[in-house]
């Protein structure tokens, strides 16, 4: 709705419907929400995989160093 039509007067209260800005753009908002949701998910998955690989590598290296005789 337009901000102007959100002016409350005694004769229009029952007619007020959607009150968010840019009413009519809902489909675009939903597409943006889906993209945001997927983007966030992909980013956090990728970071977790990298972090786990790094940790596993470090632990393996640490274990092999500790196993070496004389060290």
């Amino acid at each position: 709705m337009n901000p102007e039509s959100y002016q409350i007067s005694s004769d229009n209260i029952a007619e007020i419907g959607a009150i968010y800005p840019f009413a009519g753009s809902e489909v675009f908002l939903v597409i943006a929400a889906v993209a945001f949701w997927l983007f966030c998910y992909v980013v956090i998955c990728r970071r977790e995989s990298q972090a786990l690989e790094k940790l596993a590598r470090e632990y393996r290296e640490q274990a092999s160093t500790e196993d070496e005789p004389g060290l």
Partner: protein, 466 residues
Amino acid sequence: MNEELSSLTILFTEFYYWVTVVLMFLIHVGFCVYEVAASRWRNHQHTLMKNTMLLPLVTIAFFLFGWWIYFAFPGGPGITGGLVDAPWAKPASELMGPHLGGEPFQSGVSGADTANWARVNGVFWAAFLLFSWTAASIVSGACIERIRSSAFWILAVLIGSVCWIIDASWGWHPDGWMVKLLGYHDAYASGVIHAIAGGFALGVIKVLGPRIGKFREDGTPCNINPHNPWLVTIGLFLIYTGFWGFYVACNLPIVDVQPGEGISFSATNIYLAPTTLSAITFNFLMSLSGGMLTAYILSRGEVTWTYYGGLAGIIAASAGNDLYHPIQAMFVASVGVAIAYKLHFWVERKFRIDDPVGAIAVHGYAGFYGVVVAGFVLWGYPSSPNPEYAAISPLGQLAGAIIMFGVLGFAPGYLCAKLLSSLNVLRIPREVEIAGLDLGEIEQRERDRLELNTALAQATVTEEQK
């Protein structure tokens, strides 16, 4: 006068559900607290964040499609009808946002839709969303210390925004096909939330496998005790508290239940049959008591199982807690807890299932039993106010429990976990599991501490030199 009454009804309903949502938040606080308390010190942060981050991921999914599924799927689709149109629940609907109930501007949304849904859509959506979080959190506890968070979040969206809401549409919606054909009755979600989540968790951890060290070479289980049993009890107490919100959110607070002429207001259960808040208050507390006492006796006073027993007792009686006498509820709970407790240890030994927080027993077995036992105790009762729908029966309830636990719970959990496992993204690497998921953070904290100590020492020396 009628307009004033309907306005008050809508405003009261709006406020009522909002309060239930706030109360139900405590369920999630409790789940986070007790999962962290049940995990070992080297996995705390991972355990906490795995559960916490399901909130935004499931919430957005539930906004995008979960809420619509509830209204669209009561007929199957394809069992008793096709997809049902629900313009207020589509993500791009003007009613999925701030709306004062005036004339709609979107085609497909009627004036009746805006009048009925504008004020209650958000709070009703949120109440169902909190059930979604609960379903996903139940699964979370069963997977601690060995699942990848990213894999868990896929499973969380599947159970929280797809599977459970389909079963709610089938077995909880007043026109759900299970209510119509089977006479399925599950007023406070023994099956609709708990059996499905327990079955799903069982499917996942069957593929995921036990924590390293849980079973000896001969297959007998070792105890991996919670690092802080006292915090486990605080978490479970918080879940008990939030469970009040869960119970009242399963009701509609004020409905004109008088057929035909005249007006008679009452709270109703989810099937729109009259009930009272007193009924569920009696039965909630008596089933909690029956469950706690039984678990205390069976576990010989073990702390966590005594608390689990209270929760399992409520869950075991939930399907019929709108109609049971409180003493019936107490005995139904007592037997349910005994079965869940015994099954937990039998399944653990027999199938090497590692369920660190007893989630499958407390939610899955107690929920399954709760649905089935309601079929015997309430045999012949109407499942809903619609006289054309099937009455409650043992066979209908048994079929319902199998659908909840097995078809919509175990099967999708198992299949999705199998897929993730085949892609090698289900379980954390073995080395990381042995060393601990938080060791990277713990080492970083140690480095930060040493750096700070060095800086402080240097500052002290400089000060003394001055």
